[in-house]
């Protein structure tokens, strides 16, 4: 997915993420909650992609609602602070949904020609969980940002 950040248009939405019955409903109806991926699965998936490099905070802005309006299609974007030059650029952005049956949501490969390190897409979320974005830099450094997102079943606000 080279040059994805430049090429991907909001109108070409990609739906990825784990399958599973969604329990997004009001008080009246409930679907069964899917099995949660073991935290260990998620850790293993991260390790597979970034190896043993130390993971640092910073550089990443994760834009995600606090509470999903529709767990079937949750918009989000990841912006990484990088000049995107030949010497210093973001090589890859990985997104994980720790609470989905299959935590790996998407991986993006970038080059200096991507222009900016920014991706946005929509994903399907099975339940309330943490979303993690991991950026691998050209010098091998690895950064991570994390945010909780609630996928609620009960709507009673007012």
């Amino acid at each position: 997915m080279t040059d994805l950040a430049r090429d991907m248009d909001r109108r070409t939405l990609i739906k990825v993420g784990g399958a599973g019955a969604l329990a997004l409903a009001g008080l009246a109806a409930l679907g069964a909650r899917p099995a949660r991926a073991a935290a260990a699965d998620s850790e293993a998936a991260v390790k597979k992609l970034v190896g043993n490099a130390p993971i640092k905070d910073g550089k990443i802005t994760l834009k995600l609602p606090q509470i999903a309006e529709n767990g079937n299609t949750v918009p989000f974007s990841v912006v990484v602070d990088s000049p995107m030059t030949e010497k210093d650029y973001v090589k890859a952005i990985h997104v994980f949904a720790d609470g989905n049956p299959s935590p790996g949501v998407a991986s993006f490969t970038l080059t200096p020609r991507s222009g900016k390190a920014e991706i946005s897409m929509r994903m399907r979320l099975a339940q309330t969980q943490d979303i993690r974005a991991i950026a691998v830099m050209s010098d091998g450094q690895v950064f991570m940002a994390k945010q909780e997102i609630k996928v609620t079943i009960g709507g009673c606000g007012g």
């Binding site: 409903a25 008080l27 009246a28 109806a29 999903a68 529709n70 009960g154 709507g155 009673c156």
Partner: protein, 561 residues
Amino acid sequence: MISRRDFLQAAAAAAALVGPALLPAKAAAQKLSLGDLTRFEPLGQVTLLHFTDIHAQLMPLYFREPSINIGVGESQGLVPHLTGGLFLKRFGLKYGSPEAYAFSSEGFAQLARQYGKMGGLDRMATLIKAIRAERPGRTLLIDCGDTWQGSYTSLKTQGADMVRAMNALGVEAMTAHWEFTYGAPRVKELIGQLKFPFLCGNVKDTQWEEEVFDHTAVFERGGLKIALIGQAFPYTPIANPRWMIPEWSFGIRDDVLQKRVDKARADGADLIVVASHNGFDVDRKMARRVKGIDVILTGHTHDAVPEAIKEENTLLIASGSHGKFLSRLDLKVEGKRVVDFRYRLIPIFADAVPPDPEMAKLVAEIRAPHQAALDKVVGKTETLLYRRGNFAGTFDDLICQAILAERDAEIALSPGFRWGGSALAGANITMEDIYNQTAITYPAVYRNDMTGAQLKEILEDVADNLFHPDPYYQQGGDMVRSGGLAYTIDITKPAGQRLSDLRLIKSGRAIEADKRYVVAGWASVNQAVEGPPIYDLVARHVERQKTVRLEENRSVTIVGA
């Protein structure tokens, strides 16, 4: 005959009711007049007038403020999460005083008889006209939403009655929440009838993420350029039916708000005001995260806070609900900074304020075609009926009992709405009273089978919407009310672990995870829910009971508050 309007005296009767020891002589001697309510030493160039969450109440009403309103995380122990004696102490109010009656639940049952009803749009109009006359060219009247919904007439006219009333009142801008429950086409229609802007800067369409509504309106007042930015309730499609507004996406979007604030400042605004339906705790956090807002006029959480609360460089104003109060905030601005302010949350004692004749006429005209239905008496109550409170209110107890009886269910669930007036002990229950608690556009009372595990999951989910330590994750509303079910809740525990010891009240038996229970409730956000409308069901139940009497609700045990 001396009416209470001419002469509202707390003295003798209140002292007799609550006992002289509880009522200081000074408070007892207090009389209320229009002059007392409008007394204000003007300050600075501009006066912001604010009300919010009127919930379609055209007429004066009784409204008991909450006695339980728990703050968690960073909001713990802070305004507006002070109730009862702590609230009175924080604001230096005396038990038994008119202010104690208006702002708190302390002594409500007795004081309501003494001080009478609050609000009424004709009284509101009188106050607004008086202040406008005093400050010509310097006032701005802002409504923070939840205006079009909450009464019989608003439901029957699909919000049109309130649009007429707000136009007549001369509102100059609004934002929204429950307005959206009339559905997208009707919302657009009503916006077309407004004589002022409908500002919702945090709403985008789901497809292209383009803006749906105007976000900012600019006003010139008192020589100042004022930018007003609207913020709709961020969780409307979650708390209310998304299918009614399928193409609109909400959210707090404070990064977008920051851009709007910066743009307004760059365009020369001397004063930046946000009309918000976020709820107080969310606004308090937002005031720290978004730089450059001078004033946030808050809404949604119905808090009546008698002082302006300063969070960093932003003033937070909380003006109560149901037309009980009008906020007046005078601001002195120098070099694009608020250098001084004076604030009063004016309690509108209906018997102390003469009605404005024009507004009284309009209200009468709106109600006339519905008068017979509004006035229909369905029963009588021996208990004070009210709704507000984190876990239970007697009106919801009545609604839950009605659902259990009329739908033959083991457990009843009733949403934790914050709106709905109070009915005093000994009063008749009219259809108007019932609609004031239930007038929504998705009223079907469902009846479902649910496992114990599912039931617990729902309650945990709603509890997290109320008690998540980060206000940005709070969806608003009080805890869902339950009938036939008892439980313990520890508000300090993390999501999914707050509830324990769930039991059926009737049998005393513990709720079993795998066992199925018959659960009935109303206000489901799902489409095509089947069942009778809640207002008819409650009316039928009360008619059968004739006289309603409710025992104290001890079904929820609260830990960690």
